[in-house]
């Protein structure tokens, strides 16, 4: 029995819920050597900024137990080169492109949303608000509900009306639900969570921080329970808002866990570094997981873990 894996990214229907995570797939070109990028739900591109950006010095990455820290510093070609070169290539391959944007000021985010809206073919915008606000002493937008909301108002205001805009939330906050509510109230069509957790590693041999940037974002299976908790809390508070879940997903079973917690879509990030064909593999595994459980439609089980055990039993009983 084929499983109906279709899902909704805002008002846009995706054939399946498996996406790449921003910053782990560049703009899709490298991964296309390993699988057909049009076969997954969407390619979420690396966060693009207005100007080209060299990023941070090396070392930029360190492996930790079941995780890794990165401090890349948003190296990228800038929006002009992205629109000229990367986006057309991705669209020519028939892939759905969710473009992640990053900025140092609210105006930069707005400008990016405007530029992307002029370009044909993008599926959605994911707003990486885990950036320091240069106009407010480097305070990270995502850590302040008002600053996060201000970005989302600006982006929603400039983005074409039919392009869904998702806010990508940071787990490094006291209460992620407050930020989630603020973003949705500001016009976000959906939420993506979680970004990396801020971490740090020190090399006992050199007795110095390993990363040139000192601190870095922790990703990988080590953070998966944090992601599940965040998705759970936000789904509980905002039952109708589309959620892209991410954070340490490595198998189809992990993806199913996120869906049960309330994710409509699941992004695969660090796992791609280990397995360039992780996305199609996880998609295949997810389909098997659902088929084994006699689930015919993905959307029937989004957030199912929130239902009381009795309701699950009743549902199983009705199937008999």
């Amino acid at each position: 029995m084929p499983v109906d894996l279709r899902t909704k990214l805002g008002h846009i229907e995706l054939p399946n819920p498996i996406l790449t995570a921003s910053g782990c797939a560049a703009s899709g070109r490298e991964l296309a050597q390993f699988f057909d990028v049009s076969k997954i739900g969407a390619v979420v591109t690396k966060s693009v900024m207005l100007a080209p950006r060299a990023g941070r010095p090396t070392p930029r990455m360190v492996e930790t137990d079941s995780g890794m820290l990165n401090s890349i510093g948003l190296q990228g070609p800038g929006i002009d080169a992205f629109l000229q070169r990367d986006l057309p290539w991705l669209l020519s391959r028939g892939a759905r492109a969710v473009v992640s944007i990053a900025g140092g000021s609210i105006d930069e985010y707005a400008e990016l949303a405007g530029r992307l809206s002029e370009a044909p073919g993008i599926t959605a915008i994911e707003v990486n608000i885990s950036c320091p606000n240069v106009e407010d002493r480097g305070k990270v937008f995502a850590c302040d509900p008002d600053a996060a909301a201000a970005v989302m108002v600006a982006v929603r205001g400039r983005a074409r009306y039919d392009i869904p805009v998702f806010a990508k939330l940071s787990p490094d906050v006291t209460d992620i639900v407050t930020v989630a509510r603020a973003c949705v109230a500001a016009g976000a069509d959906g939420l993506a969570m979680i970004n990396t957790l801020l971490g740090m590693a020190i090399d006992p041999d050199t007795m110095r921080p390993v990363l040139a940037g000192i601190t870095g974002g922790l990703s990988g299976p080590a953070i998966r329970p944090v992601a599940v908790r965040c998705i759970w809390q936000v789904r509980e508070a905002l039952p109708d808002i589309p959620i892209i879940g991410m954070g340490g997903v490595r198998t189809g079973r992990d993806a199913l866990e996120f869906i049960l917690a309330g994710a409509d879509m699941v992004s695969v990030g660090t796992a791609i570094f280990n397995d360039p064909s992780a996305c199609p593999r996880i998609l295949r595994e997810l389909e098997e997981q659902l088929a084994t459980r006699a689930v015919g439609r993905l959307r029937d089980i989004v957030g199912l873990a929130h239902e009381p055990a009795g309701a699950l039993l009743l549902r199983a009983y009705r199937k008999l």
Binding site: E30, A54, G78, G138, N274
Partner: protein
């Protein structure tokens, strides 16, 4: 690059290969694995990225290794050399025949091969010499003269001394402790070797400080150097942006380029060796960077 062959990019593949042999070579290990599509596509200088630790491992990142040798047996095998220093490489050292490994490759740009039969000096530091032997075969097939200069801390860390002596026209070896060849480092004898061998082109692979010194010494004689860099990588396929280093392009602009896909072999005079590990102030997109001309009306919105 002064390259040959049109350097057509052949896409890498991901394979699950069966281990044929795991052997000790002095202080290193060498694993031979059956991987026909990689062996078939391979050109000297390219590398593979190997997943370690099994499916539920806590070690998430692939380990990158130069390809030492490919052979036609079993449809095509690939051999790579490594030092078992960390958890991942120790796990690899414990593999046995008939185990399987998840490998992506061949990755990166190969060494360019000269069109004319010139005299080539191949310089390796430690097991950085491992990609040089297949290169030597290829060069000799072109009619080139091949000389070797290998250096390491001690005799047991010189990889391939015997092969170098057998297959090179000359083979000079240096060790820090003098346990094999001359005492010292490769650059102590480089000028002499260049002079004696009448070197036309240098290929080098090894630690960054060695590559920097070789490049600067060779520069005095106007000898082109192709250097294969050892930057730590996370993905090996160009998506993670971990392995960047500052390289000056033919347009004069310095960019932070990925050593996995734009390298690992670079024209050494284009690498800004002294600035490796930093973002040079004039690199494209460095903090405060502004486009010098052209359609770049946007202000450099640099965050943090």
């Amino acid at each position: 690059m002064t390259a040959e062959d049109g350097e057509t990019d052949v896409a890498p593949v991901q394979v699950r290969g069966t281990v044929l042999t795991v052997r000790r070579v002095d202080s290193y290990y060498a694993i031979t694995v059956v991987a026909p599509p990689i062996a078939e596509r391979f050109r000297p200088g390219q590398f593979i990225a190997v997943a370690v630790g099994g499916p539920h491992t806590a070690m998430l990142l692939r380990r990158a290794f130069s390809i030492y040798d490919v052979r036609p047996d079993h449809g095509g095998t690939v051999e790579f050399v490594f030092a078992a220093l960390g958890g991942g490489t120790q796990w690899l050292a414990r593999r046995r025949a008939r185990d399987t490994l998840d490998i992506t490759g061949p990755l990166g740009r190969p060494f360019p091969i000269p069109r004319d039969p010139v005299t080539c000096l191949l310089i390796g530091g430690g097991y950085g010499s491992s990609p040089l032997f297949s290169l030597a075969d290829r060069l000799r097939a072109r009619g080139c003269q091949v000389d070797f200069l290998l250096g390491a801390a001690s005799a047991d860390r010189v990889f391939g001394a015997l092969t170098a002596r057998r297959s090179g026209r000359t083979a000079m070896i240096t060790t820090d402790d003098g346990s094999l060849g001359a005492r010292g480092i490769v650059t102590d004898v480089l000028s002499q070797v260049i002079h004696d061998a009448r070197t036309d082109v240098i290929y080098a692979c090894g630690p960054m400080p060695m590559l920097r010194e070789v490049t600067s010494d060779a520069g005095k004689y106007d000898i082109p150097v192709f250097a294969s860099v050892e930057e730590s990588m996370a993905c090996g396929i160009g998506v993670c942006m971990s392995c960047v280093l500052p390289v000056r392009g033919t347009d004069g602009i310095t960019r932070m380029v990925r050593s996995c896909v734009d390298g690992p072999v670079f024209r050494a005079d284009q690498v800004r060796w002294d600035d490796v590990g930093t973002i040079p102030f004039d690199a494209l997109g460095a903090p405060g960077w502004k486009a010098r001309a052209g359609p770049e009306p946007l202000e450099a919105g640099s965050a943090g």
